[in-house]
């Protein structure tokens, strides 16, 4: 029988009213105060009804509804979305692009390949009914969304290749006071830090609306602040 490692529930990681969130983009950091939250979910999201041995999806999946609206992209700039996901079948390997078309989670100098043994989350790591892996966590904002690919490493067809996406929608206040931003980034107040997409080749570029709203100069300043430590 399988053994299950006890993990911290992802539900402990949702943000609540008043929590501080700092998100790192390619242009610098943006700080938010969470004002409100509303839970949602997508269960199941079918990546494939069946997937033949050694096969992958014909195209990357941006997790859309029947009218091609993306479940992972907030429909309004007022919202930030926070996700964790579980995977069915246990052996199905899910690969990640963030933003769409930017491969993530490589390990060596060349980009990880779909079907390879590097840079995926499978249903054993992040089971469909939980506990979800921290590797499945991501945040999104308007005009910013990931894409998913899945591969069957087995010698048999697998059925019901599904995602269980647990979602929290937040409203927020952008924080632009440089003294407060400095305290947040240097860890003088309790906050949640998140690098959007990862570090290779660089974090995701912030959508232009967010750069305008947060202030490009402030974002550039946060990068220097983090490099120098204040």
């Amino acid at each position: 029988m399988r053994s299950v490692l006890l993990k911290q529930s992802h539900e402990e990681l949702w943000l609540r009213e008043g929590y501080l969130l700092a998100m790192q983009f390619a242009e610098g950091w943006v700080c938010f105060r969470i004002l409100g939250w509303e839970p949602s979910n997508v269960k199941p999201y079918r990546l494939a009804a069946s997937l033949a041995a050694g096969a992958q999806l014909a195209a990357w999946d941006e997790i859309k509804d029947s009218e091609t609206r993306r479940y992972t992209e907030p429909p309004d700039e007022r919202f930030i979305h926070h996700y964790f996901f579980g995977i069915n079948h246990p052996a199905a390997r899910v690969y990640f692009q963030y933003p769409s078309r930017q491969d993530r989670r490589s390990l060596v100098a060349v980009e990880r390949a779909v079907g390879g043994d590097v840079g995926y989350v499978d249903g054993d790591m992040s089971p469909y009914d939980g506990p979800f892996s921290l590797k499945s966590e991501f945040f999104t904002a308007s005009k910013l969304y990931p894409a998913f690919q899945v591969y069957n490493p087995l010698a048999d067809t697998i059925h019901n290749v599904l995602l269980n996406l647990d979602v929290m929608r937040y409203t927020y206040q952008l924080l632009k006071d440089s003294a407060l931003v400095q305290r947040i980034l240097l860890g003088e107040v309790r906050r949640r830090m998140y690098t959007v997409g990862g570090v290779d080749p660089s974090p995701v570029s912030a959508p232009s609306w967010l750069q305008e709203a947060a202030g490009k100069e402030l974002m550039a300043w946060t990068q220097k602040l983090m490099e120098t430590g204040g």
Binding site: M1, P44, R46, A49, S50, N88, Y128, H159, N160, L162
Partner: protein, 110 residues
């Protein structure tokens, strides 16, 4: 074993013409059959073929009338399923000589 709230039972009197046992497995689900019980109603030997769509996946042989057969003998909370069907598939049965009563316990889950 899956959560007991999700357990369902399906019953059928299987004939020589063939009979469905329960519903078709819904989209995005698998059917985990945890128990099967049979009782031979025919006055003599009777072979029951358990089928997944048109494919025979098990044979249960009865030698005499009212002979009963059950698998597993004693289902446990963590028992493995006896049969697994995928979305769109249908459990059915057919006999070679006469009627056979069948009951299955199952759970539909992803």
């Amino acid at each position: 074993m899956a959560r007991r709230e999700g357990l369902k039972a399906a019953y059928a009197t299987v004939t020589t013409a063939g009979v469905n046992i329960g519903s078709e497995v819904p989209t995005d689900f698998r059917r985990y059959v945890y128990s099967i019980k049979t009782a031979n109603l025919y006055a003599g030997a009777n072979s029951l073929q358990v089928r997944r769509n048109a494919t025979t996946i098990d044979r249960i042989e009865h030698a005499t009338r009212y002979e009963m057969w059950k698998e597993p003998e004693d289902p446990k909370e963590d028992s493995l399923p006896v049969y697994v069907l995928t979305a769109g598939e249908q459990l059915s049965g057919i006999t070679d000589n006469g009627d056979c009563w069948v009951r299955v316990l199952y759970v539909d889950a992803p």
